[in-house]
Subunit: 239 residues, 2 copies
Amino acid sequence: MNLARRPLYAQTEEVLTRRIAEGAWPPGALIPPEPELAAELGVSPGTVRKALAGLERRRLIERRQGRGTFVAAHTSERALFHFFRVVDLNGAQHAPTSMVLDCRTGPADAEQAAALGLAEGAEVHRIERIRALQGQPVILERILLPAARFPDFTLPLMREMEDELYVLYQRDHGVTIARAEERLAAIAASPEQAAKLTLWPGAPLLEIARIAFDVAGQPVERRVTWLDTRMHRYHAELD
Amino acid sequence: MNLARRPLYAQTEEVLTRRIAEGAWPPGALIPPEPELAAELGVSPGTVRKALAGLERRRLIERRQGRGTFVAAHTSERALFHFFRVVDLNGAQHAPTSMVLDCRTGPADAEQAAALGLAEGAEVHRIERIRALQGQPVILERILLPAARFPDFTLPLMREMEDELYVLYQRDHGVTIARAEERLAAIAASPEQAAKLTLWPGAPLLEIARIAFDVAGQPVERRVTWLDTRMHRYHAELD
DNA sequence: AAGTGGTCTAGACCACCGT
DNA sequence: CGGTGGTCTAGACCACTTT
C-alpha cells in the first residue's frame, strides 16, 4: 500500500490540497462530508479528519459545525488580518485605501526574475501604488507579478480604490496567496520616495521586501513596501 | 461533569500546562506515558493524545518516538531559531555574541511599568548590551526585567559572552519564554546610538520593541533592539 | 427531522529506542 | 526484548444548522 513511507493522513492531505490547487474545488465551494471522502479515498473517517485538520491549519478550508467544510475564499478581512501587518501606535489595525500610480508590463531583470523563479527577461507586470491609513499616505509600494500567471492584468490608475490585491488575484486570476516571507530593513528615503510620501529626503523608512507564494508553494508575487513609521508600526508575533 | 462547556481535551491541556508552568515537571523532565496520564486524569488515551498535541504545537513539550515525552528545555538553538529573527543579506542565520554595557536595578517609569503589567515605580532590572554578528557589532539592545521575577539578577559587564538570555532566564530563574510580540519602526540613530554601533548620527536603524511572555501568558521581559540593516535583515514569515 | 462537523472512546498494529 | 509514541480504524454520541 505505502509506496513511500509517508503516513496515510499526509497522503490524503496532499490529494485534497492538489484538488484545491487545481481548482477542482473552487474557493467558496462546499466539499463532500467526511464519510463520503473516506469512502471515496478508501481510508477511515479518522484519517480524513486528520487530513482536513491539516488543511484547516493551513487555512485552505474552513469548517463550520452543522454546515459543512468549505474551500477558503480570500476575504478582505482575512487578507488584511494575515498579510497586512501595519498597526497604529496603539496597536490598532485600520483598513488602508490605495491609489495606483503606475501599472505596466515589461521584461524582468536578473534579480527580479530570480526572486520569482522566472527566466531572466520573462514578462512581468509592475505596479506602483500609494496606500493611505486614516487619510494619510504612509505606504509606498512596488509590486511585481509574473505575466504568465496574470494574463491581461490591469488596474485603474490614479483613482482611490478599496485595497487588497489578494482578493483580486484570487477572484480574477485564480491565484490564491497562501504564505509569504518578508525581510525588513531601515533605509533613508530617496528624493523620489520622499516626494511621494510627503517626507524629506533622508527620512527613515521601513522597507519590507515580500515574496508571496500560492497554495502549491510557487512564488507568484514580489513586493517591496516602504512604510513611514512616524505614526505606524509593523507588528510581528513570535512563537 | 462539564461545569464549563469546554472540551475535555482543552481542560486536559490546561491541567498539563499548569503543571509545567508551576514547575511540577521541570524543563527536561520525562512526563508519564499517555496511558498513565489517561488513567490518572480519568479520560481516554485519545483525549490525552489530543491535549499533548496542543502542548507540542505550543512547544511546551517534545515527543520522541520510542523514548517518551519531555518538557521542552530552552536550548540555544531553539531560542535562536524562534526568537532571533536577524539574517544576513543571503537569508542565512548566524549566532550572535554579546557584550553587556550596563546592568542595574531601579524603579520603572509609567510606560515601562505598563508594558510589563507592573505598578509604577516597581523595581526593574535594566540591561544594555551590544550584539555582534560575524565579529561586527550591529545590534544595540535595552532590556527590562521585573525584579520580582528575577531576584538577584546580574550579568558580567564588558566581557564577550555567549548569547541567549532566554536560556539563562529558564535555567537560573525558572522563567520560560513562550511567546513574544514585536513592533518595528525605522528611526534615525541618535548620537549615542551611533557611537555605540560605529555609525553616523541620523543613520537609519531598525527599532524592534518586544514584549515577551512566559508559559502562563504573563509579560516578563520588555526589550528594545536597534539593528543596523546595512548588512542584515529582520526576517518574518506570514501564513 | 436530517445532516453536518465536533468530541470522546476503545483498541489494534507499527516504528523506534534502549537494554 | 519491553516500552514508548505514531498511525489507523470503527463507532457512539453531542452540538449546531438548515429544512
